[in-house]
Symmetry: C2
């Protein structure tokens, strides 16, 4: 197996910089669109053969150094008791938002083997299909990020309900975080037991918090999650979106790799993170709307700065956009491989 990705996560020597792309299995690929044409998003997530099929697509099409399970961070919330739907253009809707103590009490901490057998089955299929190729990354949402969806009832611009609950009823907020964290630890543990070689924790909305609020309302639950996964011995990546004000704290997460968005200079980020973690990132997803020449310059700069870290996994600084041309994604992977070999 090509284990370059795993070695970079651990800060071991590599022959070139490994690369994968957040949302690499997704709407920008015609091959994905073809599968999706016959089935809605939630059904795709819950049908192991299909989820495995779209997971594998970018491995062959792009030549990336890791596969990431096709799923959605909100999947484990259904078994907690949330009513989850995906609307074609509006994104996810959680029909029964959590707004008070009673709502939290009614939530369950589900057992993954019973609640998400389809995810574990997808991982088992992928382990066989990928043997000898590249590692498989499992994932979950970070507890705070999941809480925002549960409280807001979907995506949000300003997170008013989340923060109001956090400020006005901290006990209720923390009892919610307790249940989400327990669910997340069990969920990620079961993914690793089923065969994931590494896991990524997505804190997509951590960056909406002021640093002092992040310290109390997100970071402790991430630390606990990372610590609980330590006995498995697999690399844990912690992606902190909009991390510019949070990097010094994020290094305390205990993760092997800190994933960063494109709004910070990766060289500065390495300094602020200290020397003991690897970094992942961080090309602006919009750079794929430039030319191959511009792309080369930008990749070269990120690779140069990434070399100052213990280890560097190349990635975009956020998910690849649906409007991206697949040939530009392929060019990115090739350029990263070519330039980092030199």
């Amino acid at each position: 197996m090509n284990d370059t990705f795993l070695r970079a996560c651990r800060g071991e020597d590599v022959e070139y910089t490994p690369v994968w792309i957040m949302r690499q299995a997704g709407r920008y690929l015609p091959e994905y669109q073809k599968v999706r044409a016959g089935v809605d998003f939630l059904t795709l997530c819950k049908t192991p053969e299909l989820a495995a099929e779209v997971t594998l697509q970018p491995v062959d099409i792009l030549g990336v150094d890791a596969a990431i399970l096709f799923s959605d961070i909100l999947i484990p919330l259904e078994a907690m008791g949330m009513k989850l739907r995906f609307h074609e253009n509006k994104g996810p809707v959680l029909g029964n938002p959590v707004r008070g103590a009673g709502d939290v009490e009614r939530l369950r901490v589900p057992e993954p083997l019973e609640s998400v057998p389809f995810v574990l089955e997808t991982i088992r299929i992928l382990r066989k299909a990928l043997s000898g190729k590249v590692p498989l990354i499992g994932f979950a949402g970070a507890p705070f990020t999941l809480a925002t969806y549960m409280i807001e009832g979907g995506g949000s611009k300003n997170f008013i309900n989340t923060k109001a609950l956090m400020y006005r009823e901290p006990e209720v907020f923390h009892s919610l975080m307790r249940k989400i964290t327990d669910t997340t630890i069990a969920y990620l543990s079961s993914q690793i037991e089923a065969g994931a070689h590494a896991v990524q924790v997505f804190d997509s909305w951590a960056g909406a918090l002021a640093p002092d609020d992040y310290a109390v309302n997100s970071l402790p639950y991430v630390k606990e999650t990372v610590k609980a996964l330590r006995p498995f011995g697999v690399p844990v990546i912690y992606f902190v979106n909009n991390c510019g004000g949070l990097l010094e704290q994020a290094r305390a997460s205990g993760a092997d790799v800190i994933g960063i968005d494109w709004r910070v200079d990766i060289g500065e980020a390495v300094k602020r993170l200290g020397g003991k973690v690897s970094v992942q990132g961080n090309l602006d997803p919009c750079a794929l709307f430039s030319s191959v020449d511009v792309l080369r310059l930008k990749v070269e700069d990120i690779l140069k700065k990434g070399r100052t870290a213990r280890g560097h996994v190349f990635n975009l600084g956020h998910g690849i956009l649906p409007q991206t041309r697949p040939d530009m994604a392929r060019a990115l992977v090739d350029i990263v491989h070519e330039l980092s070999r030199n």
Copy 2:
């Protein structure tokens, strides 16, 4: 006149920390809603008596230390040749987006006295009405932020068109920035000549750029704008939204005050900005959905850290949200005044 705000901008001694609130004249105030009920947004901006009336409301209702002209950053774009409309819930729409060289060529650099006489008249009315009260802040959008609206045709999530133009046709992008910058300098100069005591440049979308892209595509035009205003001798505030990755560069803007959003710790921001500028900010607008007790703790922390700067103007880290209770905004102003006097 209460010139505490102007003195804090210049880093001079103050008896207490001055405070104003971004979007302090706006939808959260019933008094504003009443004026707005009879007139659409654009007409309100263009009717000096009404614009002056809503500008004055928060001065009396909240007790803030500065008034800010009621207008919109997109107002000067109409005379450049952009078709501007405001939709009730969708926000601004620019009907003829700039996508190529021909579009840029057709744009004019208008003369403020002819193109925005209503803005200048509003300022003259306010100068009289405010005499002996508080200073008046004029404002404009930063050139890059204005460019995003012109290129995208309105607000945007990912700024694909803006960045694609920036990467693929840099000459076209920079010729657009040239015209916007010239327009902005003339616009702000005319506001100061009409009586504004200070001006704020809003770079609301600078934070969507990777730092190396910001260095080339936003900062130089801000520097030029600030420099052109220097002869007037009034304080210039540069608000950089989502500034976590940009602070070291923002200090090179030459502005007297750097306005920062709530996603960074203001104490860290002061360190990264160096000692030669004042800072403005940076309470999370959602903190106004907490209790007065929580608010006091958060204000106290920001005031303490703000004291490490040359000067500190208290503000939210972004515009006040329409859902905010006016009594919480009033409480904020009182708490800032009370705690900073000690």
